[in-house]
Symmetry: C2
Subunit: 149 residues, 2 copies
DNA sequence: TTCAGTGCAAAAACTTTGCAGGAGG
DNA sequence: CCTCCTGCAAAGTTTTTGCACTGAA
């Protein structure tokens, strides 16, 4: 299924002297299968409900590792919880978030890479990533109702 | 001291039918005096240590109001806590965050407003704001040490 | 064999909520 | 005088930590 991602993760773990454990690959599997953005606890609950017995601590720890090796991206849309999304076979993109219903849309804008590079250089940073979120109100008719962010 | 901001806040409260209470202006005062970005709880602790007796709930509530009327901006730098910063007499700006020591630098880039406008229009959103954060490593020599984000 | 990784539960950090009393309009 | 706001503490949410045990190398 996610053979390429699994291989990439395995090599990363090896290189960084982290142990290769079945739990870690189980988390990877669930993470890549998740549609859209997810929180660590959400993933943990989903795994539990599928009768996995991976612990909460392991899920949190593994997601951190997966973000370190760029298989996942860490996001934060202003709800004080960390969200992740799969990077696998995806291009860089930015987010538009509806402040009423929580709908998240994506867009790409090549110019942003240039801005990142120039700002980092000017201020003496080595950039490792960025997040660009636009907040607003979407055109969805029954928008107010579904507070399902 | 912050006469103009106080007046603006007063008018906002009136317009929105919120009551005008001394506690709210006390929070405003501390918020505008705060150097840089701060969390709600940080401000509460600071006020307590200055023997203010405004409650935690009131601080959280008032900061929300101050963000609604644009005297403060709400930020989130990926630490799962809401941060605020004074907007008063400040131009729009973006942030560069050091992932080691938490140093935050600012920069401006007029092009970003254009990108925001175009993306919102294309996806049918009415934009109410944006956040653009670049993460990276700063050039500070003793950077690893001070984890004082 | 060794120690990083795991499961579990408890603690921590930040925020929200419920309630009773008090003050703004 | 009617409620909105306040203070307080308790509860809620998400994440981290401590500890003893297990299993990868």
């Amino acid at each position: 299924m996610h053979a390429a991602a699994i291989e990439e993760f395995r090599q990363y773990l090896k290189k960084e002297n982290h142990r290769i454990t079945p739990e870690r690959f189980e988390v990877l599997d669930y993470a890549l299968d998740y549609e859209g953005h997810f929180g660590a606890d959400e993933l943990y609950v989903k795994m539990k409900s599928n009768s996995s017995n991976v612990s909460r601590a392991t899920v949190y720890n593994t997601l951190e590792l997966l973000a370190s090796c760029d298989l996942l991206s860490k996001r934060n849309f202003g709800e004080n919880k960390t969200r992740y999304e799969s990077n696998f076979n995806r291009n860089s993109h930015e987010h538009l978030i509806c402040i009423n219903c929580g709908t998240i849309k994506e867009f790409s804008e090549p110019q942003i890479e240039v801005i990142v590079r120039e700002a980092a250089e000017k201020l003496g940073f080595v950039s490792t990533g960025h997040s660009f979120n636009i907040f607003g109100k979407c055109s969805n008719t029954n928008c107010k109702q579904n507070k399902n962010v």
